[in-house]
Amino acid sequence: MDNNPVDQSAFGLSRRSLMKGGIALTGLSALSSVAGVTSAFGQSVPTLIVASPQTPQSLDSEFDISLGTVDAYGVLYENLIEFAKIPDPKVPGVMREDTGSYPDKPGGVNAVGKLAESWEMDPGARWAKFKLREGVISNWGNELTAEDVVWSWRRKFELGGVGLFYLATLGLTKPEQIKAEDKYIVSFSPENPNPMLVRIMANLFAHVFDSTKCKEVGGEEDPWAKEFLRNETASFAPYVVERLERGQQAVFKAREDYYGGKPFFDRVIYREVPTSAARVSLLRGGAVDIAQFLQPLEVIQLKNVPNVEVNTIDATSMLWIELNAVVAPFDNKLVRQAMNFAFPQEEIIKTVFQDLGAPLIGAMPWFYPSFTDQYWQYGQNLEKARELLKEAGFESGFSTTLSYNAGDPVHEQIAILYQSALRQIGINLELKKYPAGTFYNAVSERKEPMIFYQDNPWTPDPGYAMSLYFDSKSFVNYSNYNNKEVDELLYKIARSADESERVKMSQRVQEIVMEEAPWVFVAYPNYHWAHKTGVKGLTYYTSNNIRYQDLSRS
């Protein structure tokens, strides 16, 4: 065969050289599939690989608020405005949203335009108008108009998903209250004054769809494009979804025609790596650029790893234990207070959180407007806890159950430490472990006497943040807490345009809540930004997600 000239190709390729080439190509394509480092023309393109606990489950914000999905919204959708960015006072090189109160600006917010180029708000908070940028094109080639904004908000009315909460928060009761004034001006006019009209437009769930495309694909059968938007996007954002393999990875591709300019990273590969230890290993080994949601000890350890940088940032996250106010003995305020006095909060921050967090000493993130810690009255004091139990008629203690998420190692550590502390005051705490997949069902059923919960109110507003957890009608009020005065105050806060009045009312709510202790107050866990050296540009958002369009690599 070797002597047969026909076996040698005209290009001098032998079988051996073909095999060698094949192996090399296979290796290269495998590498490309992992890192996506070469373009069709063989040129290197910037690709970012992110290891995260979960890929997006759905791309429709009405029906999914899971971890990966929330991350995806930040890059696949665009809002009318966003908060202005300021350097983080504690972490050099990291920006964060300016969530402060600015009474001289529309809506009291220091915002910058995204899809809107300007906006104004009625001083009495009865309406807000947004003038859209002209010539903004969606990933399907359609121009942004006021009709897109109207359609996006009407969708919330029609589908009855997550959007209902936002409609209620803004006091919007009829679709007609959102109106296209002309091609590029849209107005919001709720029934009652609402001070959050501008502020809430920066919320991750207040994004705008390309309604032309959605109507086109949905037709009459699916007028709100539910099916289409589960796996696809129709938006004006910097990235589009190129591939979504649930449970494995999502690939986002940068848009060349994004109105704000093409992002630095052409592709973002978002890999599902469920265990944090594995995410750490991948980052240490250089296989990923960013490892998300790490445990405190892992963060400490990564600080000593060459070529890896870790920053921990003050965040909106709050971790607490719900005390079910309709389940005995937690229907008794004194017992709830005793549970707080028995909680070894400081030691838990020091050990479990390795000081990468702060004690939760209030009813909302500590850097939100109107926050006060003057009503904080707890901290471990077993003698005081015993006295309160005695006063409540539980001198000899009682038995109860604390449920926690098997998927979060922090929960188990805290639960065991708390169990030992409670034993000292005669309370027998049984631990109940829920698999990660069913834990949130258990939380939302509101039947467990005690259950962990971690959340972060995305909109920096006291009314918004506290309504979520303490309004008796809120779907996130998982402790079944019910106080008429609190309900009335929250109602008024949501409708008052008088900033000083709002502050007073917000502080009164905090006073009542801290006194009535519907939670065991645990911690403000920090946000950890663990990445390869050279990846830079992070902005910390109150929604605790990375927007890859902010990042670049030096």
Binding site: T275, S276, A277, V280, S281, Q295, L297, E298, I300, Q301, P344, E347, I348, K350, T351, V352, A406, P409, E412, Q413, A415, I416, L417, Q419, S420, R423, E430, L431, K432, K433, P435
Partner: protein, 337 residues
Amino acid sequence: MTATTSNALSSRPTDPAITSGPEVVGCSGDTESLTLSGERRRREAGRVRFFFAVLRKNPSFALGYIIVSVVCAITVFAPWIAPYDPMTADPSRYLQPPSWAYPMGTDSAGMDIFSRVIYAPRIDLTIALLGTLISAMIGSILGAITGFYEGGRTWRKFSSALVMRSADVLQAFPVFVFAIALVAVFGQGVSSVIAAIAFVNTPIYLRLMRSQVLSIRKMRYVEAAYVAGSPDISIIMRHVIPNALPPVLSQLSVNIGWSVLLTAGLSFVGAGVVAPLPEWGSMISMGYQNIVTGQWWPSIFPGLALGVTVFGFSLIGSSIEILSDPARRRVLAGTVS
């Protein structure tokens, strides 16, 4: 009794083997009885000597018995051996490395790992023993009945076929996944894990016993009992099951080790016992995340304890398997004499 067995009984048994079946030992008169008991003692002493000779010849078997004995002793004397309460968390002792004060270090809740490793067999062995014994009892009885009636023409044949096909269905599932599903149904806790282990092990004993009974039911002492008018249930309980037990007993040891492993596995994935009950699998699960950050001790020590214990049970299982096989016993007897 099946038709096959009835046909086999058409000729009246005269073979002395019929009356020397393992459970049918005739005795009359005090002198004869004394002679027999003396003979029995001598036989037993001989068996013990043989047993120890086998252990000397096969040190790995001896190692198995030593390991299991030590684990059992630790289980009994844990409260006197453990220096700390195994379930008391203390944040001031958070993740301390091994030292004189804490020989195996402490875990992420500040609990002493040595004390927990010492206490863990109380949970692990209880679950494994109870789960295995329950499955052996249920499986053996079902297997005996199924085997005894197999091949018949009555509704009993249908029942035994139904039992065997049900066992096929149960065994078609991967054991671990099946156990997780059962714990999910029953709820988390020690009793659920016992139930799950009993459930997944039952088909093993069912098949083992059935295969034994299929041959034993044709033995002449069984036929004699039938001819003597004993009811089926009496024949099964008095003549069939006792004689089919040796392989079941040898399976028990292997199965206990395996059940310890399954218990630990279930706890590791969060479907077993609830923290902070000291249990090896749950301890490994609680500590494995720390390996990547350099704190190896919370999971390595319970892992070692688990591995050594399972190894011990499997060595004992191997020894029983050999000792209960007459052919291999004869070979061994030749080598140790």
